[in-house]
Assembly symmetry: C2
Homo-oligomer: 273 residues x 2
DNA sequence: CGAGGCCTTGATGCACCTCAACCGACGTGG
DNA sequence: CCACGTCGGTTGAGGTGCATCAAGGCCTCG
């Protein structure tokens, strides 16, 4: 087993070999770098009820779900929520924070497959083989609710509306992936960035934040990886949009000055859903 | 309502306005172009038991599923199985034939999101909004089993292993989409084509066909759309692989002469799943 | 036979990649 | 304290892989 060390400033990750029994994810007593903690929580009082898995459930059903989703875990910036190749047991609902998922190729390149914020569900890809197929890495200190998948399937039998909503969430993920495929397959750099920003904007808005003024949690390189571009191209596209006064960029801070012109930039293509 | 007319040779589609009651998909009495027929079928005797939804079910469970999946429909080459924007009611399991799914943009461009063969499930994207988000078009005369989704959810409660397998199928679709995103985001034209051919090869093999010798059902343009390339580039990539004696191409017919070198061409990247 | 669809191949241009230099922010160590 | 290294970001110069445009061949069908 390895202990993951995170340089808090640079966000770089190092490894240290440890005896096997120091399990990566389940030993919350380990001091220091992997500070994943388990805390009782309840869906009933969660502010994300309307965004997350409990959508459409009544109070009693939420209670049942809340009993299954009994653990909260914290992941520090740069830390792994799960790693590719590890056994799948639970889905994770993001309670706070911001994460990316990415697949790592043998040659070291990584492709970001998604950025994820509060209320979203992680781990759906792992249901198929019961092995995680991607890494989930926190881009800022985050909290997630752990949802043991077998238990979710069990209570899904008791609560059909939960099962139904779960199917919709999985399906929505497929639709989202299709729109990213469309983006990667047919859009130009500037269109891709516009589409990306509009997608972020909408998701921040849904969560009660400003849709025109936000901080990016990811680097240019991570954006590029997600959009199928090199970081220089992303940077140039940012500059171009700024020159045209459509957005204002200052490092990680983005303000959308003219959301309509940004939508026009995106072209006729439908946005990432 | 519109009646779809298909030029059988050119595979082009025209529209004719009809009174509303001539429903597109459910009027099998309409002569001519939309010859979708309904035939009783049963999962119990289907040769695709091991590939399709019934995987892992016992005889009694298969009987229950078979009663729900009571209709077969035929779609002629060039015909729609479903269209973007229409209401979602059923999933479709492909019994025979070959289909593509594609999203159409407002400006007329279309992006192929997948090619689908026997035993595969179509319509998963529509669960989320209960509206189809893409078109499914037959690339050769095809037969599908219609699975009313609400009924599937109902019997899923009785047959947990069915529900579980269904979740795995949805998850597998997500994994597949991620690997296409990786392909579109980071591979070169030749790598993309190699990955595509190897994917087809494996899927034909799983169905008992030759893994080195098969006919493509789609045009260069459709391949290009799927792979994020122009048809000329696809054609050139075919020629290049042929020059190097890795494959032999004759119009739609492909023979893989050296599957290992084809895998090397694909690079270190993992194949489309 | 002609028309149209599908495919191939060549010539040219351009969007993005690659390489490189440089900047500012930040943390570290002498 | 400042010099230095590292990282993330920006910008420029030049190269290239693919798109675009165009011509022509093969095949099928009417």
């Amino acid at each position: 087993m390895v202990l993951i060390q995170i340089n808090r400033r640079t966000n770089k990750i190092g490894f240290k070999t440890l005896p096997l029994e120091n399990s990566l994810l389940h030993d919350s007593s380990q001091p220091g770098h992997l500070d994943i903690k388990q805390i009782r929580s309840s869906c009933a009082t969660c502010s994300l009820r309307e965004l997350c898995l409990p959508v459409g459930l009544n109070d009693q059903e939420i209670q049942i779900l809340g009993d299954v989703v009994s653990h909260k875990r914290k992941v520090r910036r740069g830390g792994y929520l799960h790693q590719s190749g590890l056994k799948f047991q639970s889905l994770f609902a993001i309670r706070s924070g911001f994460l990316k998922t990415c697949v790592l190729e043998e040659d070291g390149r990584q492709q970001v497959t998604g950025f994820h914020m509060t209320g979203e569900l992680l781990g759906l890809d792992a249901i198929s083989t019961e092995i995680h197929t991607c890494d989930a890495i926190a881009l800022e200190d985050s909290e997630v609710c752990e949802i043991p998948f077998t238990k979710l399937e069990e209570i899904g039998i008791i609560i059909p509306s939960l099962m139904r909503h779960f199917h919709k969430i999985m399906s929505r993920e497929i639709v989202r992936d299709h729109s990213v495929m469309l983006l990667l397959g047919s859009m130009k750099a500037e269109e891709r960035l516009a589409s990306f920003l509009l997608n972020l904007s909408r998701r921040f808005f849904l969560r009660g934040y400003s849709e025109t003024d936000f901080n990016l949690r990811m680097t240019r390189e991570e954006i590029g990886s997600y959009l199928g571009l090199k970081l220089e191209t992303v940077s140039r596209a940012f500059s171009k949009l700024q020159e045209e006064n459509i957005i204002t960029v200052d490092h990680k801070h983005v303000r959308i000055n003219d959301i309509n012109r940004l939508k026009i930039k995106m072209g006729n293509s439908s946005c990432i859903t």
